[in-house]
């Protein structure tokens, strides 16, 4: 039978089916409108007619083959599972080191460091603006002395470490390499990721320090330095996670992340780097939200768009430059304070969508995170969720098991088309930096966040335990209690460090850094010298603030 006959027959059969369905609908109307956040109306069913004009080789191809829709490795999880990487950090370096070693003992395969807000914004723990924030949302780091404790008895040549640090990324990367050196481990042996994604800080996460242009210089300095000296290091983790948490849709998450990625690639090219030298070390970070199939499709679409961008727009030759490798975290914003144990289910489904979407590494949130920092027991359950997905339910047996599903392929195409439409708009505005400067991206996210909230309040969107199936009274749950003395101890250690170092070395390192910042040299070597002299994070960022100035947020509501 020819394709033509086949299609005619299908069309006839479908028409007959639709007539039946329409009759049934008169009696039993549907519960509601079925729509994705991006506005796509979801059909009753998807079928081979949906796939008309579908070209397997062009749109999917095999795993490990361009455009990598089905995954970046030929055997995916049959060869190696994703890295199970729980984001952790609180209080002092000692406490966090203990949590790290506990997680590694429990079968976690990579580390992920959360820093407190003063560290992320380049203030020492005794700065007036650090009041109340020391050791709260992550570990406090003031100097190399803290990182030495943080990484004690952790073999840095065997674990890969991800550091969520952006504005002062260069300083923390320098500290990490300096500690490794003390452990006798060379930069070539180090594996890990530095988030180093400043653009999303301006739109969604808020831990910026310097203005965009100066920040982009620091980003590219890391690309160049690490590209040469730390070849297995991911020099950036371009993050949609926080954009989604701020309220964007799935399409916006893909579009704004890749829009930022384009800006980084262009900045690196402008600085004279070769695309195939730095692009293989670019990595990504996405959110796994609640609409299961939309999320799976989102990951696949992101891979395809990126591959095509790198090949067609930037002329990459090396396939590794075209592979979108990504970390995923389940959606913190979907966790509820009400009936917190129900969050275990949300997290499990979200994590499953990330695995079916082909993630390279994964963080599963803990059930109690709408209430406090997670307790050890809650973190363990979150890690166990990943282990069940990996070892018990068969989803890792074959690559891209949902590939070829009519619905998944339709959603993948839809997200690709809509995200590309946004990317064109960002190009028209003059690129991501400009689109952030004019507030375009912030306003798009804000509109989606507001719509989401309205839908919850109007019960168009059901959140179990919040606007439906509520319970009066609360489930008892043991929450993590922070040690109130942490901040004091941290400030004491900082004072000791300031007293015990060679002051002349520190002063001259900071002076050299200031001078270099005024010129065009790569700043990494200067920062490394300062770090090794035990200059503090606040001093180093302070020197850069002197030269670069500080970013002032434009608020337009």
């Amino acid at each position: 039978m020819s394709n033509q006959n086949n299609r005619e027959e299908l069309n006839r059969a479908k028409q007959a089916w639709e007539e039946k369905v329409n009759k049934a609908l008169e009696k039993y109307p549907e519960r509601k409108e079925f729509k994705l956040d991006s506005g796509l109306e979801v059909d009753k069913v998807y079928d081979p007619l949906t796939m008309e004009g579908f070209d397997y080789l062009e749109q999917l191809n095999w795993p490990g083959e361009y455009p990598f829709t089905r995954g970046i490795q030929p055997t995916m999880y049959r060869g190696r599972l994703w890295t199970m990487r729980q984001y952790a950090g609180y209080g002092s370096a000692e406490e966090t080191n203990e949590r790290f070693r506990y997680l590694l003992d429990q079968g976690q395969t990579g580390l992920s460091v959360a820093f407190d807000l003063p560290t992320q914004i380049g203030y020492d723990s005794d700065h007036p603006l650090a009041r109340g924030e020391v050791g709260k949302v992550g570990v406090a780091v003031d100097s190399l002395a803290d990182i030495e404790i943080l990484m004690e008895k952790i073999p840095l040549d065997q674990v890969s470490t991800s550091m969520t640090i952006n504005a002062p990324a260069a300083v923390l990367l320098a500290m990490y390499t300096a500690v490794a050196e003390k452990q006798g481990i060379s930069m070539e042996q180090l594996k890990g990721t530095i988030q180093n994604d400043i653009l999303k800080e301006y739109v969604a996460r808020g831990t910026y320090i310097f203005p965009p242009r100066e920040s982009m210089r620091l980003v590219v300095d890391i690309f160049a330095f690490a590209g040469e000296k730390i070849p297995s290091w991911n020099t950036i983790s371009i993050s949609g996670y926080h954009i989604r948490e701020a309220g964007s849709t799935a399409v916006q998450e893909v579009a704004f992340t890749l829009g930022n990625a384009i800006a980084y690639v262009e900045a690196a090219l402008e600085a004279g780097l070769e695309v195939d030298r730095f692009a293989p070390r670019l990595s990504f970070f996405f959110n796994a939200h609640s609409n299961f199939f939309e999320e799976v499709a989102k990951f696949r679409a992101a891979r395809r768009i990126w591959a095509r961008l790198m090949k067609e727009r930037f002329g990459a030759q090396n396939p590794r430059s075209m592979m979108l490798r990504f970390h995923t975290q389940t959606a913190g914003c979907t966790l509820t304070a009400q009936q917190p144990d129900v969050n275990l289910m949300r997290v499990a489904f979200q994590a499953l969508s990330a695995v079916l979407g082909g993630t390279q590494s994964l963080h599963t949130n803990s059930r109690d995170e709408a209430l406090a920092l997670p307790s050890e027991q809650s973190v363990l359950l979150a890690l166990r969720t990943q282990q069940v997905i990996a070892h018990e339910i068969g989803v890792t047996d074959t690559a891209d098991p949902l590939g070829g599903s009519y619905y998944i392929e339709e959603l993948t195409n839809h997200i690709e088309t809509e995200a590309n439409r946004y990317l064109e708009r960002i190009d028209e505005i003059g690129g991501a930096v400009e689109a952030i400067d004019t507030g375009f991206i912030q306003q798009e996210i804000q509109a989606s966040a507001y719509r989401y909230q309205k839908e919850v309040e109007e019960q168009k969107r059901i959140v179990v335990g919040v606007n439906r199936f509520t319970e009066s009274g609360e489930q008892p749950i043991d929450l993590l209690k922070m040690d109130p003395a942490t901040s004091h101890r941290q400030v004491e250690r900082l004072k000791e460090v300031r007293l015990s170092r060679k002051q002349g070395e520190v002063a001259s390192a900071l002076q050299e850094l200031r001078k270099a910042a005024q010129g065009e040299d790569n700043l990494m070597p200067y920062i490394l010298t300062a770090v090794k002299a035990y200059a503090t994070l606040g001093e180093i960022c302070g020197a850069l603030r002197d030269v670069f100035g500080e970013y002032q947020q434009h608020v337009n509501l």
């Binding site: 009041r131 709408a370 309040e457």
Partner: protein, 134 residues
């Protein structure tokens, strides 16, 4: 005669960058007819109080999710007390443990809105409280 709109300062206190909630609430209050002054990120307690007095607001809504609330909110309450501006209604949104909510409410916070609160609840609460003050 039309009522004078309620003036509300919505602020992010401390270094916390999570502003989704604050912005959504700000927009909802505005849609409910209130005049909203949104401070943006990284406000110190001193800046919050200064802006509140300058803008002559009836309500201060502070958002904080970093866990620094016990260090950053009491100074706001104390300064308002010293300025004899105790009639300014202070409400708080964010991730605040239960014991801390009790303490804050004993010390001058009118209400704490935890995750899952609706903007409607917040609007109604403000209207009611402002009404009582008049």
């Amino acid at each position: 005669m039309a009522e004078k709109p309620v003036r509300v300062l919505v602020g992010k206190v401390g270094l916390d960058g999570h502003d989704r909630g604050a912005k959504v609430v700000a927009q909802a209050l505005r849609d409910a007819g209130m005049e909203v002054i949104y401070t943006g990120l990284r406000q110190t307690p001193e800046q919050i109080v200064e802006t509140a007095l300058q803008e002559d607001v009836q309500v201060i809504g502070l958002s904080i999710l970093s866990g620094a609330h016990m260090q950053l909110l009491p100074p706001v309450l104390e300064m308002l007390h010293e300025q004899e501006s105790r009639d300014i209604i202070v409400i708080v949104g964010g991730i605040i443990p239960k014991d801390d909510i009790v303490y804050l409410k004993e010390n001058g916070v009118a209400e704490v809105f935890s995750p899952g609160s609706s903007t409607e609840e917040i609007v109604d609460f403000i209207k009611q409280k402002v009404g009582e003050n008049q």
